[in-house]
């Protein structure tokens, strides 16, 4: 087996036994990355830095007692600030920006000895579901069944493509409305969005602060457990980061889910849902029942209002967060004409620096927060958000421990296919995932089968707040039962 195709758990164990070195793993990934430019997943390669860190990791492993992630080559989404390495959220407005600091999450991985191979493509400011809004151009899904190039999903599209194509062993993603779970489902990998507050947001370029969470994207549930453990924990620099102990997520993978109550929400059965996805969902429920879980029908009555609430709240927060890009302190500044003052500088800089989707969302956010509309849109959306959270609270209070849903309403679609569509049509990709962000819950997507065309389809499990350990255990039971082993055929 190729070294770059190992799981994190396999690589960790091989490193401990001395069967392989981090330098060898890293070189295998670098070779794979250099041969995969057609996927446009890695947009800033840090090969020299990676080899330096790999050598340091090998020394540390030899000394004994190295953490699990020590020596493991990973990719980092471009949304994470990485010291001395371009970090531009796939936006021209941050072109040339090299942070003087490291985000807490990527810093934790670095300190654990993980080897950063480079920065990964994404939708601009994480606003998109197809990785088509990036200033770097589209990331491409390694899965291909005809002559069309498919989207890896978004916004963490580069992370998903890189992990699915064996360019790295794991990658960081971020998820504001589904940006880890939808691309994971489109590429046949595992992605978990932890409970809001589990991972520090410090140094992660902000999109919508009450919804954003970082999480790992990996090839197996076990790998997600290992990598999430290294990314999690309290950070005084993020006031919303939870001061709670981080459980040993890997140790929670017991395989025992006997008697656990798993809910199937009736509101997730959408009109026009492809029968393949309906069947996948029913099969998933049957697998969990066979493993000893109790499957119950549940109701989350406000589900249909989650998307419109999200598309008020997320742009509102974005318009506020993105106000900082003004051409003064970092990033792009427009060339000014004679007589231009500071307002012209702001307006020209932001028009040149932000792409169309980001401009649109900033303006929608500005509109819903403006005088006269604040109550009608923003406050109403926050009230609906409270009702969506209450739906989940009531179901959990009734004893339900996890909720099973499809991850996405379709398999990966072709790049360009949605180019002329209304923005709202693209937003529908998030229909099964946004509820989880609005309620601050943990959610995991995992591959569960292929559609008739041969593309991966994912299921989502939603857990109780801070219940990632139980959630990962249930997910691994489903992973084992589904037995998804398909890999994309190399064409790139």
């Amino acid at each position: 087996m190729k070294l770059n195709a190992l799981t994190i758990a396999e690589a960790r164990d091989a490193l401990r036994k001395g069967d392989v070195t981090s330098v060898e793993l890293t070189e295998a990934c670098v070779t794979a990355i250099d041969a995969a430019d057609a996927l446009n997943a890695f947009v800033h390669k840090t090969t020299e830095l990676a080899l330096d860190r790999a050598r340091a990791a090998d020394t540390r492993i030899q000394a004994g007692n190295a953490p699990d992630m020590c020596g493991i080559p990973v990719g980092i989404k471009d949304l994470f600030c990485t010291e001395g390495v371009p970090s531009q959220a796939a936006s021209n407005i941050l072109k040339g920006f090299k942070p003087e600091y490291e985000s807490t999450v990527s810093g934790r991985l670095r300190d654990a000895g993980a080897v950063m191979l480079g920065k990964l493509n994404m939708d601009e400011f994480a606003m998109g579901s197809s990785n088509e809004t990036a200033c770097y151009g589209d990331a491409v899904n390694p899965w291909k069944v005809d002559d069309r190039r498919l989207t890896p999903g978004g916004s963490s599209g580069g992370s998903a493509a890189a992990v699915a194509a064996d360019l790295c062993l794991g990658a960081t993603g971020t998820d504001t409305g589904g940006s880890i779970r939808q691309p994971a489902a489109f590429t046949g990998i595992v992605g978990i969005k932890p409970t809001y507050g589990r991972c520090s947001r410090w140094g992660v370029i902000a999109f919508a602060s009450s919804l954003d969470q970082a999480g790992p994207m990996t090839r197996t549930v076990r790998d997600a457990a290992i990598m999430l453990g290294a990314m999690s924990g309290h950070d005084p620099k993020d006031s919303t980061s939870a001061d709670l102990p981080v459980p040993d997520f890997e140790a929670a993978l017991t395989g025992d889910i006997k008697g656990r109550k798993i809910g199937i929400p009736r509101e997730y059965r959408m009109d026009g849902m492809p029968s393949e996805i309906e069947k996948l969902w029913a099969d998933g429920a049957a697998m969990l029942r066979d493993a000893g879980a109790e499957i119950v029908d549940i109701s989350l009555p406000h589900t249909k209002f989650a998307l419109p609430a999200y598309y008020v709240i997320a742009p509102a927060e974005a318009s506020s967060n993105l106000a900082r890009y003004d051409g003064v302190r970092y990033g792009h500044r427009a060339r000014l004409d004679a007589g231009d003052g500071i307002t012209e500088m702001y307006e020209k800089t932001r028009a040149e620096g932000f792409g169309p989707e980001v401009q649109r969302r900033v303006m929608v956010g500005t509109y819903v927060l403006s005088a006269g509309f604040y109550d009608a849109y923003y406050n109403r959306a926050r009230k609906v958000r409270a009702l969506i959270k209450r739906d989940f609270d009531e179901v959990f209070a009734a004893g339900v421990e996890a909720i099973l849903t499809p991850a996405t309403p379709s398999a990966a679609f072709a790049l360009g296919e949605m180019a002329d569509a209304d923005p709202v049509e693209m937003y529908l990709n998030d229909v099964f995932t946004v509820t989880v962000n609005l309620a601050g819950l943990p959610g995991i997507a995992l591959p569960a089968g292929l559609n008739s065309a041969g593309l991966p389809l994912g299921l989502q499990l939603i857990g109780r707040p801070w219940g990632e350990a139980d959630l990962l255990n249930t997910a691994q039971v489903l992973e084992n039962a589904a037995g998804f082993v398909s890999k994309p055929q190399k064409w790139w």
């Binding site: 040339g96 920006f97 090299k98 942070p99 003087e100 409970t195 809001y196 507050g197 009450s210 005084p236 006031s239 919303t240 939870a242 406000h302 249909k304 209002f305 419109p308 609430a309 598309y311 008020v312 318009s319 003004d326 051409g327 003064v328 302190r329 970092y330 792009h332 500044r333 000014l336 231009d340 003052g341 500071i342 307002t343 012209e344 307006e347 020209k348 932001r350 028009a351 401009q359 649109r360 900033v362 303006m363 929608v364 500005t366 509109y367 403006s370 849109y377 406050n379 109403r380 959306a381 926050r382 009230k383 609906v384 958000r385 409270a386 009702l387 209304d422 923005p423 709202v424 707040p465």
Partner: protein, 96 residues
């Protein structure tokens, strides 16, 4: 269906400090109208007596002493500035 007229689109662009050419305003107004119409589904929900959600997890924000915890890094702070002079960010003239 809610419609955002050209004047509203122009005003929103101005508030957002994004220059939108006059010729692009009709399409912008059209796209914004579509999104706002989508949001108006929220009017179907009975929200009487519901408090707006303000924090995601029910925990009190941490407090800390109001003291200086970091600083003395002027060079680092200015290192990414498009224009920095004599230890300051430089911008076009603000006041006539």
């Amino acid at each position: 269906m809610s419609t955002i007229d050209l004047e509203t689109a122009r005003r929103v662009a101005k508030l957002a400090r994004i220059r939108v050419p006059e010729a692009d305003l009709p399409q912008l107004a059209d796209r914004l109208s579509g999104i706002v119409t989508f949001m108006e589904q929220l009017n179907e929900v009975d929200v009487d007596g519901i408090e707006p959600m303000t924090s995601v997890s029910p925990m009190r924000l941490k407090r800390r002493a109001d003291g200086v915890t970091d600083g003395d890094m002027q060079d680092k702070i200015l290192s990414n500035a498009p224009d920095a002079r004599e230890g300051f960010f430089a911008v076009p003239k603000v006041v006539e």
